[in-house]
Symmetry: C2
Subunit: 227 residues, 2 copies
């Protein structure tokens, strides 16, 4: 049994981090093929094996393998950027992204003793997703999956019906691919949240969720009411 | 029957606008006394009368009257700023806010042919709520009620259980007052979203909701999952 309409080959850049690994798990669990990327292939392989092992016996699950980041992109349809913002631009510049759907879940945050807040990019007129689009002009960059906690993603629930995946982008076709990929997480379509520049709003919202997590001792997420 | 623990006297600055009027209605409906402010008392009076008329027969509803903005603040415990961002700073500077809990639901947005997005304040390191706090240093400014649609607030539902009111602020006592005031809208406490500077994230999130509203022909809101 599988819910997916299209089986994609998805490269997860930064796939050994908690968010990348957990999203790789959700994508493969739903039936997509995942190549989990890291700086070195030998770092990616054991994490890919761990994800694959968790999926052993899950009917319809996709294959999960490991590779160096740039190699992972090779024949991927979709490339997920799940990397820290520090070093993001330099890393993106090394990846062969032309012609691909590139999904950014990067959250540029700053932390100090008063807690987390949004990191200011391009004087407030930029975002990690927009930076990726500028660096890879022949890719179709989409922002999504910013707000779902790695802990919840890696948890035991089949799907996360209380969460929404907010999807922003300027290319309708690419955005539609990611709206469909959201089903891997929530069991239903992602929410079309508008243009790519709204990543300026989506990315730092994670600072609010982290504040809520600390206060309420939880792993919070976002749900849109009224749709 | 009333759910409230404390009856406040609430001034709604910009109370003749859709957001101010609708929040005034919710506060008074829940039992608080509301003075609806406008630039001129004679503009406030008919709107206050309209709200009061809607509440005729609602058991426990508070009184709603109109006044000029500065006069409305006079003996208020809580002052809600529900004004456009254009002219916000100049207006706030004219109000007697010292010693009061000041709630900002101001959404500084910019619009162009690609739709709405967050307006950049202080190079990305500011927000309307922080501006109000700077202009009125002896007030306790709290950010809240940014995301609940005026149409939904003015609607027929007793409470809006699918919405959350996110509350940010640096003064715990003032924040607690507003967390309680959220019950007027949702029927339950607001969500403590952290420090006042997170208004930088909460205010422009409204641009995302407006985009969603246009796409899905709805009046969307935000709910936090996991709490």
């Amino acid at each position: 049994m599988t819910l997916i309409d299209t089986r994609y080959r998805i490269a997860v850049i930064g796939g050994t981090g908690p968010q990348g690994k957990a999203l790789a798990y959700r994508f493969a669990r739903h039936g997509h093929t995942v190549v989990l990327g890291s700086r070195a292939a030998e770092k990616a392989a054991p994490v890919a094996a761990e994800v694959a092992e968790r999926l052993a016996g899950v009917e319809g699950a996709g294959e999960v393998t490991g590779a160096a980041n740039a190699d992972a992109c090779g024949d991927a349809d979709v490339v997920l950027l799940a990397v820290p913002y520090d070093g993001h631009d330099e890393l993106v510049a090394t990846l062969p992204l032309a012609g691909k759907v590139v999904v950014s879940c990067v959250n540029p945050l700053a932390f100090d003793k008063a807690g987390p807040h949004g990191r200011v990019i391009d004087g407030g007129e930029g975002s990690a997703a927009e930076s990726a689009q500028r660096i890879a002009p022949d890719a179709a960059v989409v922002g999504a999956f910013h707000h779902v906690s790695a802990v919840t993603l890696w948890g035991d629930a089949d799907y996360l019906p209380d969460e929404d995946v907010l999807v922003c982008g300027d290319t309708d076709e690419a955005k539609q691919v990611v709206i469909e990929l959201a089903r891997c997480v929530t069991g239903r379509d992602g929410v079309d949240a508008g243009r790519l520049r709204l990543a300026r709003q989506l990315e730092p919202l994670t600072a609010v969720l982290i504040s809520i997590n600390k206060k309420y001792k939880t792993h919070s997420g976002v749900r849109i009411s009224g749709i």
